[in-house]
């Protein structure tokens, strides 16, 4: 098994930490993982993206130009990464702020309105966990038990009291994901 993922959005949306929790969940599951961010001034408010690879085998290149799954959280990232999904691959996006919806017919497209849901749940900061939950529901790569372990490992101890809220958000993400179009 090997899964190559790009997560892309605005800096500050929790893109990098979402990738880190996913990667740590993989570690907890005994997989090989890599997490490669875009870095630099982009981190501060511009676009941010991170490539996460989960694999049963040692990972060769941590840098990729096409992906099994793209998780897209703003329009700029949609413009950049829709075309980078491998044929037959998966695109998951949050509809908030998206004006040009994905149009490829050779990939599976799902939508998770995490921004809206986070507002409803009165916890805007767990937005990225809702997205992660949607992804995990779709791709059953890591067990929930290991996701929680990964979450615990990624968060500093002073934030451990937030784990139940994050867990709730992950589960909610799994419930609200919608299928837009699927390759036959």
């Amino acid at each position: 098994m090997k899964e190559e993922i790009i997560i892309a959005g605005f800096g500050g949306q929790g893109v990098l930490s979402m990738g880190k929790i996913l990667a740590y969940s993989g570690v907890m599951q005994g997989m090989e993982v890599s997490w490669m961010p875009s870095y630099g001034p982009e981190m501060r408010g511009g676009t941010a993206n991170v490539t996460v690879i989960l694999s049963d085998e040692p990972i060769s290149s941590p840098i990729l130009h096409e992906f099994d799954t793209a998780i897209i959280l703003n329009q700029q990232s949609m413009d950049k990464f829709e075309k980078a999904v491998k044929p037959g691959g998966t695109l998951i996006y949050d509809g908030n702020g998206i004006t040009h919806h994905p149009s490829r017919k050779d990939i599976n497209i799902y939508r998770v309105d995490a921004t809206a849901e986070a507002v409803k749940m009165r916890s805007v900061k767990t937005f990225n966990m809702i997205v992660l939950g949607a992804y995990l529901k779709l791709k059953n790569i890591v067990d929930m038990e290991n996701v929680l372990k990964g979450l615990k490992k990624s968060l500093p101890e002073r934030h451990h009291h937030l784990i139940p809220m994050n867990e709730k958000a992950i589960l909610r993400g799994g419930e609200i994901i919608q299928e837009i179009s699927v390759v036959e």
Binding site: K20, A23, Y24, V33, Y39, G40, S60, S61, P62, I63
Partner: protein, 360 residues
């Protein structure tokens, strides 16, 4: 039992230093390696192992703090990125001349000049061929994973002390910023005063009545003395070349073509090898782990086996010159690489192999 963590290369190198019993770190912030000192400061090793961590006023100062610290026979290290390493060249030359062990980490970014903060390998020449003034060499290790960032801290210190020579870990923004799974060894205690004096009788630790004074210097005013020192250094470098070459091969046994790449380029090239193999192209990867000493002989041995060699580097073609020296004109050698912080994709590398080597 070894401890398993998910960490950035830069964070991992910091924790590895503490765990290896390093005595001092002196540095100055620069992207993309600032996490090294940030991690050290957050971990507060002065409260646990007693390791000193100090933010200097410049890279010029930090390398000279290293020079002072190294002269005391302790394990000292610094880290920086390309422009900062340029500033350190004076001090590095003095440290090499005075034959002091220390470890310098370069998380390379694109240049020349202020350049870019994105990953690059364009400091190969600077690291391997000198950089500072005078005839000297650094031991240069090129990690290609976060685990190797950890493992090479210990290896670099061991080699540095074995040969009384500065060692450089030549990393880049990819390895520094990437997170991977890493395993750590148990904490090692720092050397005691007695161990330091016993292991490093040359160190300036205060002159007891029982020995002559120790002078840490690279100054030899008489040409005849300086030449003697140069001859001694060259003999040491020759011994290092003979004994310390490290490299790794991947699918080379039946290879008709070879890719030679180090560091993060080797990671990308490994995937290119997989892509090419799926197409039925018999290509292997040779990854130099030590850039000095360079695996000349080991690459040269493939001249009877392969039809062509592609070097893949994130620069305009630097290591390719050493590969050409290694094959002595017997096999075609071409370079492929992106520059300025751009990173080749595995597909691009595979295409380059077909165009420049197989088709060319």
């Amino acid at each position: 039992m070894r401890e398993l963590k998910l960490m950035k290369g830069n964070e991992a190198i910091a924790e590895a230093a503490i765990r290896y019993g390093v005595d001092g770190y002196f540095g100055y912030p620069i992207t993309p390696q600032s996490e090294v000192m940030e991690t050290l400061m957050a971990m507060r090793p002065w409260e646990t192992t007693g390791m000193v961590v100090l933010q200097a006023e410049s890279e010029v100062a930090s390398i000279n703090m290293l020079y002072g610290g190294a002269g005391s026979g302790k394990r000292v290290m610094t880290s920086s990125s390309s422009p900062g390493i340029s500033l350190m060249q004076e001090g590095i030359s003095y440290i090499a001349g005075a034959e002091l062990p220390c470890v310098i980490v370069n998380v390379v970014r694109g240049g020349p000049g202020l350049g870019t903060i994105q990953p690059s390998q364009s400091d190969y020449f600077q690291a391997v061929k000198g950089g500072g003034h005078g005839d000297y060499k650094l031991i240069v290790l090129a990690p290609s994973s976060v685990q190797e960032m950890v493992d090479f801290v210990g290896l670099a210190f061991d080699l540095a002390f074995k040969y009384r020579n500065p060692a450089m870990i030549l990393s880049d923004g990819v390895i520094g910023q990437m997170m991977e799974k890493v395993e750590f060894d148990e904490y090692k205690p720092r050397w005691t005063r007695e161990e330091i004096i016993a292991k490093n009788p040359w160190a300036a630790t205060g002159k007891p009545p029982t020995r002559e004074r120790n002078i840490i210097t690279s100054l030899h005013l008489q040409a005849v003395d300086q030449e003697k020192q140069n001859i001694k250094l060259q003999a040491k470098y020759k011994e290092i070349q003979e004994k310390e070459v490290r490299y790794e091969t991947y699918l080379c046994d039946d290879a008709e073509y070879l890719i030679v790449a180090f560091g993060s380029s080797a990671r990308i090239s490994k995937k290119s090898v997989e892509i090419a193999r799926e197409k039925g192209i018999k290509v292997g990867l040779l990854r130099p782990i030590t850039l000095f000493p360079f695996p000349y002989k080991e690459i040269g041995a493939y001249t009877d086996q392969v039809k062509g060699i592609l070097t893949v580097e994130m620069n305009a073609g630097q290591m390719v010159e050493d590969v050409r020296l290694a094959v002595e004109g017997k096999v075609k050698v071409e370079h492929y690489g992106r520059m300025g912080g751009m990173i080749s994709s595995p597909d691009e590398v595979e295409n380059a192999l077909e165009e420049l080597i197989i088709g060319g």
